[in-house]
């Protein structure tokens, strides 16, 4: 009969109106500045640099300034200058490090290609979304100090992915050590310094897990 559909519709809205007062499922809006939304784990927007140690961020950057990401970046928003000297990394080996590492977030298109090409798991995607600023040029160009964030933070925002990365890195390190040990045992020659971790299989394992939301 004419009108039953109208009444059904009215019932739906009335249920929602009343339900919004007692049923959290019917009142899904968060009052943003006070209540922050819980982001899905797969959420990502801009890259950051992973450091091993929160107390000495500049000393323990995973980045070795190989400049692959700079070359791969489609909008070319990454700028890297290699250091002239070498510093010991987290494992204690001397490495080249980025003297300048800058990302222009106003140009970045959040494609995540830098993350996928990085052979050292040194650059990852962040979840920081409150990046509005009144300074159009300076504040959106992030430098090394602003980009560096500790591994613990990475664990916080992408837990499953970070565990995988850590496990893989530990595995690689162990394999490299074993290889070095074997080489040392085989040759027992003193020429076994700088076993740069270059197992060719490593980057292929980089493909990130499909987002859990799917």
């Amino acid at each position: 009969m004419l009108g039953t559909g109208l009444i059904k519709g009215l019932a739906v809205t009335a249920k929602n109106l009343v339900g919004s007062y007692h049923d959290p499922a019917r009142y899904t809006t968060l009052e943003y500045p006070e209540v922050k939304p819980k982001l899905p784990e797969a959420y990502r927007n801009f890259p950051f640099l992973v450091t091993e140690n929160a107390t000495d961020p500049m000393g323990t950057l995973r980045c070795v300034a190989c400049q692959i990401c700079e070359k791969e970046c489609p909008p070319q928003c990454i700028y890297i200058e290699k250091s002239k000297d070498k510093k010991p990394d987290a494992a204690g080996k001397p490495q080249i490090y980025p003297a300048v590492f800058a990302i222009d977030t106003s140009v970045c298109m959040s494609c995540q290609i830098c993350v996928e090409v990085c052979p050292f798991d040194a650059i990852k995607m962040d979840q920081e979304y409150e990046i509005a600023t009144t300074d159009r040029f300076g504040a959106l160009l992030l430098n090394r100090e602003q980009l560096a964030k500790p591994n613990s933070y990475y664990h916080q925002i992408h837990p499953t992915e970070a565990v995988e990365v850590d496990a893989r890195l530990a595995e690689e390190r162990r394999a490299a050590e074993e290889k070095a040990k074997a080489a040392a045992a085989a040759k027992s020659a003193p020429k076994s310094a700088a076993p740069a971790p270059k197992p060719p299989a490593a980057p292929s394992a980089e493909a990130p897990k499909p987002p859990p939301a799917a």
Partner: protein, 403 residues
């Protein structure tokens, strides 16, 4: 202002009048007559102005709650200061007038609209003793004043010299012509049964209770209920409210006749929309819901104007509920609904009311026959014509991409 002799002299009933009389008594004789009228006007403006302010807030809150969000809640406690913030914003905004606009009409349209939409309040009986103007043909006056409002909408749309505004103006005219008819026809049975066009007498005719519990409101009769529903549908269309807000279709006509208005003139249009809604709801309360009469005998201790206000608010909330639910009609659907459905139903309803009036003397088991016949006269045309209206329109099915 008041011609009714007080029949009920309880303190709360007469308090507003006594307050006014006390104040007028302080003035010199020559000023009393004009002050008495002015106080009425100021009281109506103040009450309905404030009601307008909080209706906008209530509407936004209700729409928000229906859509799983809280609505305005930042300005003041629970957003209670929001209307005033909006008012300040509207007042301080720049008033932009298009260069090619018809300057005079563009300026006049909102003013005329608000003035016309306020006229209707003059004859509404707000309480037992609270009738601003007693008129013999009050109902006719009310609808004559209401019929002219769409002229202002037309002026706004035409003066803006904007094609969307002009489309809105034409839509507004077509809509008014279409819905004036069911609106007028739907209350003719009330006039027939009450035998008067005066609003106070129509309310008086609905007084009394059966057994102290069931009020004699017209909405509780078969023809009265049908008339009430038709009246409310037509009132929705006349006050340009969703789902009949075609003149102001913000998604197709970029707000239609309001496109070229900004600042306080824009606020005036909104004020007029809410005033029109309040006036029509007040008329519906008067004609069908027993005006200021209490629903039960023992509830009469509550003053009459409180009952009127309560019924008015219920109807206004109904308006908002409908706005939150129903999508906008298409132009052809709008006019088809009016001409092919509401007008014939209203005409048949006239016959039903005539039958009801002729069989007023039936008692005992004949009373049941009377109810059955009247109900059949209301329900059968509704079902038959509803079927014709929706013939060929299958329930819409949706196909989603396979996930």
């Amino acid at each position: 202002m008041i011609a009714v002799a007080p029949t009920s002299d309880r303190f709360l009933e007469v308090a507003p009048l006594q307050l006014r009389d006390w104040f007028i008594g302080l003035l010199p004789q020559s000023l009393r007559w004009i002050t008495s009228g002015l106080i009425t006007v100021v009281a109506i403006l103040a009450v309905f102005g404030l009601l307008f302010a909080y209706l906008t807030l209530a509407e936004r809150k209700i729409l928000g709650r229906v859509q799983n969000r809280p609505g305005p809640n930042r300005t003041g406690w629970f957003g209670l200061l929001q209307p005033f913030a909006d008012g300040v914003k509207a007042l301080t905004k720049e008033d932009v007038v298009p260069r090619d606009a018809d300057q005079v009409l563009h300026y006049l349209a909102p003013v005329v609209l608000v003035a016309l939409s306020l006229l209707g309040f003059a004859v509404l009986p707000f309480g037992r003793h609270l009738v601003p103007v007693e008129l013999d043909a009050a109902v006719l006056y009310f609808f004559a004043a209401g019929a002219a409002t769409e002229l202002a909408v037309f002026m706004a749309g035409w003066a803006s010299r904007n094609k969307y505004s002009l489309l809105a103006a034409m839509r507004a005219l077509a809509q008014l012509i279409s819905y004036e008819l069911p609106l007028l026809l739907s209350f003719v049975p009330v006039v027939m049964l009450a035998g008067t066009l005066s609003t106070t007498e129509i309310v008086t005719a609905q007084g009394g209770w059966t057994g102290g519990w069931i009020p004699h409101w017209y909405v509780l009769t078969p023809w009265g209920f049908a008339g009430f529903v038709i009246f409310m549908i037509a009132a929705l269309a006349e006050s340009n409210r969703s789902p009949f807000d075609l003149p102001e279709a913000e998604s197709e006509l970029i707000a239609g006749h309001l496109t070229e208005y900004s600042g306080f003139k824009y606020a005036l249009f909104f004020m007029a929309e809410y005033f029109g809604m309040c006036a029509l709801s007040g008329m519906a309360v008067t004609l069908f819901l027993g005006g200021w009469q209490a629903p039960c005998a023992w509830l009469e201790f509550i003053p009459s104007y409180a009952w009127f206000a309560g019924k008015l608010l219920v109807l206004l909330l109904g308006f908002m509920w409908i706005r939150a639910t129903l999508p906008r009609l298409r132009m052809d659907q709008l006019t088809r609904l009016a001409w092919k459905f509401l007008v014939p139903l209203a005409l048949i309803n006239l016959g039903t009311a005539a039958f009801w009036s002729l069989t007023a003397g039936w008692t005992g088991p004949l009373q049941l026959v009377r109810w059955a016949v009247a109900l059949a006269l209301v329900v059968t045309p509704f079902v038959v014509m509803g079927r014709r209206l929706t013939a060929g329109v299958a329930p819409r099915t949706y196909r989603y991409a396979a996930s």
